[in-house]
Symmetry: C2
Subunit: 684 residues, 2 copies
């Protein structure tokens, strides 16, 4: 049994012979590199590795070509071929990470040019992707730059080796409170991330425990510098999650009050220490006053006070503070219907707009709750005119099947990015807020909680690699469609067989809707087991302190978040969004129960009642989950056998578990409502 | 702040001066002991310690008294005073553990006589108890023997120091896979247990993990022998829980098939090894084919095959096998309404009656499920005419508040022991089956899962000591009332102030009903959080694989276990029990929902509907829980301050948590049924 799962989309499978193969062979006789830079050298090595593997023939590395060649180099790097090919090109709009690729018949070369080494690296990865997906390269004329500034990955890895919300094994950074220093895996991880444009990674959990608080001390900085050094080659800045209470916990201070001069000085000194060891350190990610984490509230200060203090400390070194907006009352009494967790981020941060320093960036989850399969877009997007901010996605499938169920999340992220906020005129899409273009933010972009661990295939579920790949590609260019991204990933991972590509692409594209259909109907959310969040439990979070309620009774279900009669959450939106969500008649039905409490007999646009919709979607969803497995089984023999078997096992579990979801959800609502299924199917 | 919690009921508080005090002083000038036996010496030491503490004056230890004295000795021990006092007494019916106490004016002594040293020890503890509770000793004429043969404690302690279902800290036997060898604590524990008549203790969890499987090897037997040696002095035999798969796991065999000659020989050899190190080793406790533990089913054998194999190995050494009957399908599909966990123990073991060896003892949980606050008595009691068996109680409050809520369990155990099975004639009480008198079993008695840990006060909740004390006293003599036992314990623990005794006794006596009232209505059970089993969660076990369902829907609730239309469980009972449980009209209402599925509108004998009963009991129960706290607070200053504060904190938690129970249960049923509370109280 072969298994290319570890190599993932960089497995560089052997290409079929034919005209395209010949085209690649013709162009790739030589690789011309003249610059002695570690990133450019890495790009060259990647290219040679990739081409050797795909073509079965290694290109010759040279400084002076003697025939058709690939040439890579920076515009100012002195390579005469690069200078000639790009003479007269406008390169200033490319930015520091963009690249150009030109096929130049006169010069008999394909040239990858950029202003910086990392631009070269991205260009090489792109050229490899073009070849790996079997695209023509005879007449390339590409100019590409990433749309978002920060393209970040957040690890929730703990020093003990566990990963909070990790579904793909243990950490590959740490084990048993020691750094693993597995340089091969770290380098391969950096390659994977860089290949899809990731330029920032925070390596420890935002819940910073005791030992991790010491990461910013001389005890651990050398180990972290080793990781940063590997990342640096691949254009990735290393960030650390910081503990707001560090001045007390690891300093000798008795307070962490952000307005206390001694505290401010402590952080400044600390920043100096970090930058002495890691000169290009990215900065801190901070979860403060959130789910029992320490923060400025302890001292009667607000989030701006807290974040700005850290910003001030990092500013001289060019570092930034990424301050999470996941702040809400996590000790809510379930009897209290006035408090609404959905309101919390907006209520906390909107009043602070404009108070944050230039190097402070707020990180806002895509929805107001917590990565449910379906949520509205956070109303903070559009509400922060004078504040740097990032989108936060979750690649880890915490609430979407935990990498045991298939759920390709790019379509969900697309919907979020394409959402119109009405913040500045009639069309103000989230993606244009996030990329900084609407308000000209200095820092902008997207972060996401990763789905990787030390599993051989990185992501537990073999097909969950598509989310990791897709995340990077989407935020590099949000205009790519989910389908295009899926197809790229399939071709790079499985090869270009058309039937196989179409089948897997269909599975991926359908998977989010399928998962939604047999789990959470109409935007209700949270019908999962508490703590681990896997599997159905309709009342699992109903009496919890986390603000996660659906209020189902024998008559109906849903949360009234209207201004008129509910929590007023819908009033946090602008323009048409506010009125659409406010009114039952105009509320998008996929979010009906998020915004309104309705009787089970409420009739949807389909003509079905809510209860019948629940029954129907759950029966259908379980059938579709079974169909995913059947589709996969039809592909046996047409791919790497290791990948096939691993994914098959996951799909079997999904098909079976989808029935459990179906039966538990249907039974719960049947027992509660007493309303029969119109189609007379078995409910328990 | 003083704190006598560690000494518990052996704290031997100073007695008040007065005529009784003078009586004790008069008799206890000297203690006469002539036998050099470690158990009798321990009895003497206990007496001196107790009297010194209670009277402020040490009795003189002597072999030849010169005036009024206490004399202790075996009938055959050669002490002339003992011989004279007990001359002509019939002592054969006392048995090996009984004792006589006589006040003999002529001889100017109070004599404690017995056939064995442990009888002396029990007699001395009893005399100390009489004095500690301020009883007259001027004319004692007592003959006492334990009613049950085995009076056992089961520890569920793990070698890593954790305790399964432990609510009073960590193990005091082990920590981090090492023996603690804390001889002082072990000796004090043995004293406490012996003082209430415990004569057998198994020291490791019935779920025997990898390392604990090695307890029966030379690696660990010396440590275990040390514990056994301490226990031995106090008349307690040490037992170990054994892993049925040991021949594979720690032997070199490839099977644990009980009919395989090599396996049988392995166990015989193993028994020999154990008895060479611990000559009075009690035997093995075994959980087999239960909740994923290995057992004879793997080899197509039955429980008799498995147990008899072990019995055969232990037989030459006088050891016994205690084989648990907690066997059921723990992978049930919640959709399957035919399988009924309640039936399982009977269905498994009744057909095997008569097949077990003489030294095999079945251990049967008091109810058919698992230590719920209310269950019927297991129908196996009365059904096993030809098999040794023990009752299994749980002192640990797994489902009755986990030693954070007050729940004095002796009244529950009394009800179980006093249950009439109709097994042999019109009156065949469980207690007479358990004590062996109905069928003349060679081995008989009671075991219980303990509630102790390394908490300073042993049991977490200070008042939970009453369950530990009460368990021992009750099974020594099941004719004692729960109230008598409570009063003894209070007097020994807190002193004899009448107001205090009455107040605490009232709290204890009410506590089980109170706990029941705000938690599980009408015998329904299982409305707890899964896994840890603490706190309300009506559907917490409803979709589980453990066979723990209540089937609540919008119309009604309960499990139909009738023969006529349900699982047939009621048919496992004999005589009137079967018909009483079978029929809704005659079913005891406290077990109504255990045996029947009824509409919420079903009218109880009280005239209330089931739903109104749920509302009423939950409102009342929460009020009564608050009243427990108020009563306790009225006792401030009248007891040891350490005990006072500790218990007050627990009662505060209980009062608050009872409200959570009230509101979650009421809300669940209100939302589900839509039926209003007739009294218009707040339901959410």
């Amino acid at each position: 049994m072969t298994n290319t799962a570890y190599e993932a989309w960089l497995n560089y499978g052997q290409l079929k012979s034919g005209s395209l193969y010949n085209q690649y062979i013709d162009w790739c006789v030589e690789l011309v590199v003249t610059e002695d830079n570690e990133t450019i050298q890495a790009a060259a090595a990647e290219f040679i590795q990739g081409m050797t593997s795909m073509l079965g023939k290694a290109p010759l590395l040279t400084a002076k070509p003697e025939g058709p060649c690939i040439v890579i180099g920076t515009f100012q790097g002195g390579n005469p071929l690069i200078s000639r090919v790009f003479a007269g090109e406008r390169t200033d709009s490319l930015g520091p990470e963009g690249f150009l690729i030109r096929t130049n018949a006169t010069e008999q070369c394909i040239a990858v040019g950029a202003s910086t080494p990392v631009g070269i690296l991205y260009g090489v990865f792109h050229l490899l992707r073009l070849i790996g997906t079997e695209s023509e390269i005879d007449a390339l004329n590409l100019s590409m730059s990433p749309v978002n500034g920060l393209r970040m990955i957040n690890h929730w890895d703990n020093f003990d080796g566990s990963i909070e919300r990790g579904y793909a094994g243990r950490s590959f950074f740490y084990e048993s409170n020691q750094f693993l220093n597995d340089t091969k895996r770290l380098r391969d991880y950096a390659r994977l991330m860089s290949s899809v444009g990731i330029n920032a990674i925070s390596i420890n959990n935002v819940n910073v425990h005791e030992l991790e608080s010491l990461f910013i001390t001389e005890q651990y900085l050398p180990d972290i510098a080793l990781i940063a050094g590997i990342f640096r080659v691949y254009g990735i800045k290393l960030f650390l999650s910081a503990n707001f209470a560090s001045p007390i916990q690891i300093g000798a201070l008795e307070t962490a009050d952000p307005l206390d001069p001694a505290v401010r000085q402590w952080w400044k000194d600390k920043a100096g220490e970090v930058y002495r060891v890691i000169p290009d350190f990215g900065g801190f990610v901070v979860k403060a006053d959130s789910e029992n984490r320490p923060g400025p509230f302890t001292y009667g200060r607000d989030h701006a006070d807290g974040a700005n203090m850290l910003g001030e400390a990092l500013e001289p070194f060019g570092g930034i503070v990424i301050w999470r907006c996941f702040v809400y009352n996590c000790k809510q009494d379930w009897r209290d219907r006035k408090t609404d967790r959905a309101r919390a981020a907006y209520d906390h941060f909107k009043p602070l707009d404009g108070r944050f320093n230039d190097n402070v960036v707020l990180q806002i989850k895509n929805g107001p709750m917590d990565f449910q399969v379906r949520e509205p877009v956070s109303p903070l997007f559009g509400a922060l005119e004078h504040t740097n901010h990032l989108m936060e996605f979750q690649i880890a499938q915490e609430y979407t099947g935990q990498q045991r169920h298939l759920c390709y999340l790019v379509p969900q992220w697309k919907e979020v990015l394409d959402f119109n906020t009405y913040a500045k005129g009639q069309t103000t899409l989230v993606k244009h807020i996030v990329d900084g273009s609407v308000w000209g933010n200095k820092y902008n972009g997207v972060a996401a909680v990763t789905n990787v661990g030390d599993d051989m295939n990185w992501t537990g579920h073999g097909l969950a690699q598509a989310n990791l790949y897709g995340y990077g590609r989407l935020i590099w260019n949000p205009e790519l469609t989910a389908k295009e991204i899926a197809e790229e990933w399939i071709r790079l991972t499985f090869g270009t067989d058309k039937g196989l590509v179409v089948a897997i692409r269909g599975m991926l594209m359908d998977s989010w809707r399928i998962y939604e259909s047999y789990t959470a109907p109409l935007g209700v959310g949270w019908m999962v087991n508490p703590d681990h969040h896997y599997g159905p439990n309709v009342d699992g979070c109903e009496y919890a302190k986390w603000g996660t309620y659906h209020y189902a009774d024998h008559k109906g279900i849903g949360v009234d978040r209207s201004v008129k009669s509910g929590t007023g959450y819908s009033g946090q939106y602008m323009g048409l969004n506010a009125s659409n969500y406010e009114n039952l008649a105009s509320c998008p039905e996929e979010l009906l129960l998020f915004f309104h409490h309705v009787p089970y007999t409420h009739v949807l646009q389909s003509g079905q009642t809510v209860i019948q919709h629940i029954y129907d979607t759950h029966f259908e969803g379980a059938e579709q989950a079974a169909q995913l497995l059947a589709t996969w089984e039809s592909l046996e023999g047409s791919m790497d056998s290791g990948l096939y078997v691993q994914v098959k096992q996951r799909l079997e579990e999904q098909a079976e578990h989808a029935q459990e979801w179906r039966d538990r959800i249907n039974t719960y609502f049947y027992r509660k409502s007493g309303i029969e299924d119109l189609k007379g199917r078995k409910i328990y």
